[in-house]
């Protein structure tokens, strides 16, 4: 028996050995070496084109199949599910009253029992569908990208489609995922190791140069670990030393995307665990701005450290995400004014993900970080566009909030995102009472007039 199995075992070992070697060589040649030098073979773009063709076919097939079987196709609407009239409180209540009484309009500025209809309807409308919470759940797609997680029509339509999906599953989890995980570990490991090594050098030009190279290389490996296909526009506007780079926030991957094309000083809270290790080793090679948890609450301290950093022209530009939380990449929410008070030049950057290949939005209330990364690494690809906008500074007579809104509008316009006034903090916090008071003010104005009217009469 033993004699029978031995040569077989040997054969298996040899085959395994060979495949591992081939695997690592391919990895090295096609992925890691280009990452080091910042060149690209164009494999990812070809991949993207092929995928798009397949997705189109898949969507057509589903629609055809649904028509044949008379299934009701659930078409996702990216805007709204219910019709909301854009009329104001005043107009609506006047209309309700007009239809309900024969009296003169002028005298009908008294309370009517039917006034409650307006508030009731608005309230129930918001229960069924509202502007703000929509921004915090993933964007809905109009074509299917062979991931069941983004499909609501997944009935069995045809054998070919299911086979294609199965094949896709196999490729994604069997081939792409292990590849990407390997790359991710390589990238992170190299980052920690090399930045620590560079940190040993004395401060000076060589250290800065090496640190830049090391950071760029490791981030590029991470970009490949996610199969991120990024198009950078207007690179002449790239942030310079002494400036603050401001971008809209969709996921933690934003950092990797921006940092693989330029060197930035990161800002953030020191974490424990693996994140903390990475942060501590990064700061050895070049100055990043990390805060202890206790320091984060002290706004003056934060502002002071940031302004000290930007004043030193030898230090890298700071990267900040002023929304404060991840938004689902269909809109830009209110920018927190802190970074706009410092007075440095602001370099806005717009990041727009193409959702056809994989949804990059991190819904932190639904998925933890590890879960999220696994989802990212088992999607087809992350495709996004980055626009570097021309630098902006605070103008005379403009306060921080107005400046922040101006930058936000520019980013929203460039990225094709909706510019919302709502606060991203609404994702977790409660609505401030001032909003409710606004409604009450509007209504009371109708009934009893404003304070000035009353004092006059």
């Amino acid at each position: 028996m033993e004699l029978f199995f031995n040569p077989f075992d040997n054969l298996v070992c040899i085959l395994l050995g060979i495949s591992f070697t081939v695997w690592f060589t391919l990895l090295l040649v096609f992925i890691i070496v280009p990452a080091i030098f910042g060149v690209s073979f164009g494999i990812r773009r070809l991949y993207m084109k092929t995928l798009l063709k397949i997705f189109e076919w898949a969507t057509l097939r589903i629609e055809r199949g649904a028509k044949e079987k008379n299934h009701h196709l659930y078409k996702p609407y990216s805007n709204a599910i219910i019709a909301k009239e854009p009329t104001s409180l005043e107009e609506e209540i006047k209309e309700i009253r007009r239809s309900g009484s024969n009296r003169d309009l002028d005298s009908a500025s008294e309370f009517e029992m039917s006034d409650i209809f307006y508030f009731a309807r608005r309230g129930v409308e918001s229960i069924m569908d509202d502007e703000v919470t929509k921004r915090f759940s993933a964007e809905e797609l109009e074509s299917w990208n062979l991931l069941t997680r983004s499909n609501n029509n997944f009935h069995y339509i045809s054998l070919r489609l299911t086979v294609l999906w199965g094949l896709g599953l196999l490729i994604r989890y069997g081939f792409l995922l292990p590849l990407r995980v390997t790359l991710a570990f390589t990238g992170v490991g190299l980052l920690v190791f090399l930045t620590s090594v560079v940190g040993l050098l004395p401060n000076g030009k060589i250290k800065n140069f090496l640190s830049k190279k090391v950071h760029l290389m490791c981030y590029r490996i991470c970009v490949r670990a996610l199969t991120a296909i990024i198009t950078y526009h207007d690179s002449e506007n790239k942030p310079k030393n002494g400036g603050i780079c401001v971008a809209n926030h969709t996921s933690p991957i934003d950092v990797i995307i921006l940092a693989s094309d330029g060197c930035y000083a990161m800002v953030g809270q020191i974490h424990g665990g693996l994140m903390g290790v990475i942060q501590r080793s990064m700061v050895k090679a070049c100055p990043h701005v990390w805060f202890e948890r206790s320091e984060v609450k002290d706004r003056h301290l934060v502002a002071k450290r940031l302004s000290d950093h930007v004043e030193d022209k030898s230090k890298l530009p700071i990267l900040i995400f002023p929304e404060g939380t991840c938004i689902n990449n269909t809109s830009v929410m209110m920018f927190k004014k802190g970074s706009f008070e410092i007075g440095a030049t602001v370099y806005p950057v717009a990041i727009k993900y193409d959702p056809r290949f994989g949804d990059a939005f991190w819904n932190s209330s639904k998925f933890g970080m590890v879960n999220y990364l696994l989802r990212m690494m088992s999607s087809w690809a992350i495709v996004c566009s980055v626009w570097y906008l021309p630098p902006m500074s605070r103008e005379e007579g403009e306060d921080a909030v107005q400046f922040a809104n101006r930058v936000k509008a520019a980013i929203a316009r460039q990225g094709g995102l909706v510019d919302l006034l709502w606060d991203g903090g609404l994702k977790r916090g409660k609505v401030k009472d001032t909003f409710k008071e606004e409604q009450q003010k509007l209504y009371s104005k109708m009934l009893v007039g404003t304070q000035e009217d009353r004092s006059r009469s």
């Binding site: 209809f117 307006y118 509202d130 009934l447």
Partner: protein
């Protein structure tokens, strides 16, 4: 999109709900998604706090009342069927619907909508809107923007206008009569876009 691939099969009693409420299958599916979205901890039931996640509702002066309209007295949880039944009140009325007397009044008829609005006023569900209840609603809708005297005079006028039997409260019939010329269907209906 969320990680759940909904279909009509996941929804309990879907067919029955379609019959009862008049929503189409696609609308019920849509509402189920919304229900699941509001149901953050995936229990299949909603609690009043879950409605707190809707920002625009927190901004609404009578937001709390609307939330309690979903929960029957004493109930603390809401399942999907009850959720949809309440929302059915806001479906546009069916135009040419002949029904026999034996069938229960549909939720989205003018009468159904009126009853819903009446309940927003009549919190203790005794069939009458008392002066106190009216004052409460007015205070909610106007907040701190008016004085106590102004509030009292508004309430006084409203009761005088509607209260025919002079019992210092507005019954459902009196409520209905005072609103008979209002286009209730238009003002208390929410249209789906699909």
């Amino acid at each position: 999109m969320g990680s759940n691939s909904s279909s009509m099969n996941n929804i309990p009693n879907a067919e029955q709900l379609v019959q009862e409420t008049g929503f189409s299958a696609a609308h019920i599916l849509r509402l189920y998604e919304r229900f699941q979205f509001l149901d953050k901890d995936d229990t299949g039931q909603l609690r009043p706090e879950d409605f707190g996640a809707v920002r625009e509702l927190a901004m609404n002066p009578i937001g709390d009342r609307i939330i309690s309209a979903f929960f029957s007295p004493g109930q603390e949880t809401l399942d999907f069927a009850s959720f949809v039944r309440v929302l059915a009140h806001f479906r546009p009325a069916d135009s040419n619907r002949t029904r026999d007397g034996a069938q229960p009044e549909p939720a989205n008829s003018s009468m159904g909508k009126l009853k819903f609005a009446f309940q927003l006023y009549d919190q203790d569900r005794d069939g009458k809107i008392s002066r106190a209840e009216l004052l409460q609603v007015l205070r909610a809708m106007l907040g701190m923007q008016v004085t106590e005297e102004q509030l009292q005079s508004i309430a006084e006028r409203a009761i005088q206008e509607a209260d025919f039997d002079q019992d210092d409260a507005i019954s459902f019939d009196e409520f209905r009569k005072s609103l008979e010329k209002v286009n209730i269907d238009h003002k208390m209906s929410i249209r789906f876009l699909s």
